[in-house]
């Protein structure tokens, strides 16, 4: 997969973010060496180059303050945010009426996840090394990636809608679309641990059961950001050490099957039959 594909994938992500937050007027990403990696269609290339030039002398002196984490410019008509994430700089320009928290939530979830995905798909290209020829399996992974991004955007949007609406009305559960939780993988070991069972917060299980009017949740579907899925049994986490931390305890064999490991994010949804 070559860098063009990455740029295309990131451009799509920026376009989706902009669709989600119309108050974002311009957005683009550039690498630490100043190369423009991706820009959404509303931002001319000339503008991106001028922005990078304007920020160049700040970035050059960044070492004096321990390296740049972010830059915020507050104007009377809007704001510019520059965030340093995974070795890239994301530039976001928003109008003065933009909901800064909403914009931040979306970008802080989506961009690092997308970058992580891209790194997983083909780490060398993201690091700027020579591109390798595209293979059929890579093409299919790109397609999977694009679908994942769209899904992520949709999920983030749904979360935001829930946040906004919850104080006023109780959401009616949608029985056709099961709720999805993103959880961090934690090892599940021991002599008597079944290899087909994961453990998650009892609170999440209760929420799901409440959503499905008391139906017992005995199985879940686990999805990785690489598109791999597995169906397995589920039980509540034992002991308080891992409770309320948003984790999913998973036997090592299952982690191997899903090609994931401790610390990575997975999507988990209940299976209702």
């Amino acid at each position: 997969m070559d860098n063009e594909v990455y740029s295309f994938a990131l451009k799509n992500t920026l376009d989706e973010i902009r669709n989600l937050c119309p108050d974002i007027t311009n957005t683009f990403m550039f690498a630490e060496d100043g190369e423009i990696i991706a820009r959404e269609e509303n931002t001319p290339e000339k503008t991106t180059v001028r922005v990078v030039d304007a920020l160049d002398s700040i970035l050059e002196k960044a070492e004096a303050i321990g390296g740049i984490e972010g830059i915020t410019l507050e104007g009377y008509n809007g704001r510019v945010n520059v965030s340093h994430m995974n070795g890239f700089y994301l530039v976001l320009v928003t109008s003065k009426k933009a909901d800064a928290n909403y914009v931040n939530t979306i970008t802080r979830v989506l961009i690092p996840t997308v970058l992580k995905l891209l790194e997983k798909i083909h780490p060398t290209s993201l690091n700027g090394n020579l591109p390798s020829p595209k293979t059929e399996s890579e093409n299919s992974r790109v397609k999977e990636f694009e679908e994942t991004v769209k899904k992520l955007v949709k999920e983030t949007e749904v979360e935001k809608t829930k946040e906004t609406i919850q104080p006023q009305i109780k959401l009616e559960p949608s029985l056709s679309e099961p709720p999805v939780n993103q959880l961090i993988v934690e090892n599940l070991g021991g002599l008597l641990v079944p290899s087909d069972t994961v453990r998650i917060d009892n609170e999440i299980l209760s929420q799901w059961e409440e959503t499905y009017e008391g139906k017992k949740i005995g199985e879940v579907e686990i999805g990785t950001f690489d598109g791999k899925t597995a169906r397995c049994k589920v039980k509540p986490i034992k002991g308080s050490k891992y409770e309320g931390k948003g984790i999913i305890q998973m036997p090592e064999k299952m982690q191997l099957d899903l090609e994931i490991r401790k610390g990575e994010l997975v999507r988990v949804k209940p299976i209702i039959e």
């Binding site: 311009n26 002398s57 004096a64 972010g70 704001r79 945010n81 965030s83 994010l265």
Partner: protein
């Protein structure tokens, strides 16, 4: 569920009012900055206008780097504001891993306040508003 990240600059900007200090006499501004310099976590400040500059930093070895950073931030602020039609610049914050810099203009004067990352920015802003 998303792993909680460190508090970022965007969050700070979202919950605090930007500086927007009204033009004031140089003496008042300087006195205010001297006061701010005594606050916990404040490393120092740079105040400059077209004819003079005052630099008061706890670590003199950083003066050149900080002076360039201050000037670059203010210049970049103007450039970006012009590019994206953001109007007059209220403030520009550069957040590093160790230090953050709050820069803004008050009339002819350009100010940068350097502080530790965890310094109480709210308190500094309150003081600036009262100048």
């Amino acid at each position: 569920m998303v792993v909680k990240k460190k508090k970022s600059i965007q969050e700070i900007a979202a919950v605090t009012e930007p500086v927007a200090v009204e033009p004031t006499s140089d003496g008042n501004l300087r006195a205010g900055l001297e006061d701010i310099k005594t606050y916990e976590g404040v490393i120092g400040y740079i105040l400059r206008n077209s004819t003079s500059a005052a630099i008061d930093l706890k670590d003199p070895t950083k003066i050149i780097d900080y002076a360039i950073l201050s000037s670059s931030a203010l210049d970049a602020g103007e450039e970006l504001s012009e590019l994206f039609n953001l109007g007059e610049v209220k403030e520009i914050i550069v957040e590093g891993k160790d230090v953050k810099v709050l820069s803004f203009a008050v009339g002819e004067n350009k100010v940068s306040i350097f502080m530790d990352k965890d310094a109480d920015r709210e308190r500094i802003l309150k003081k600036l508003h009262s100048i």
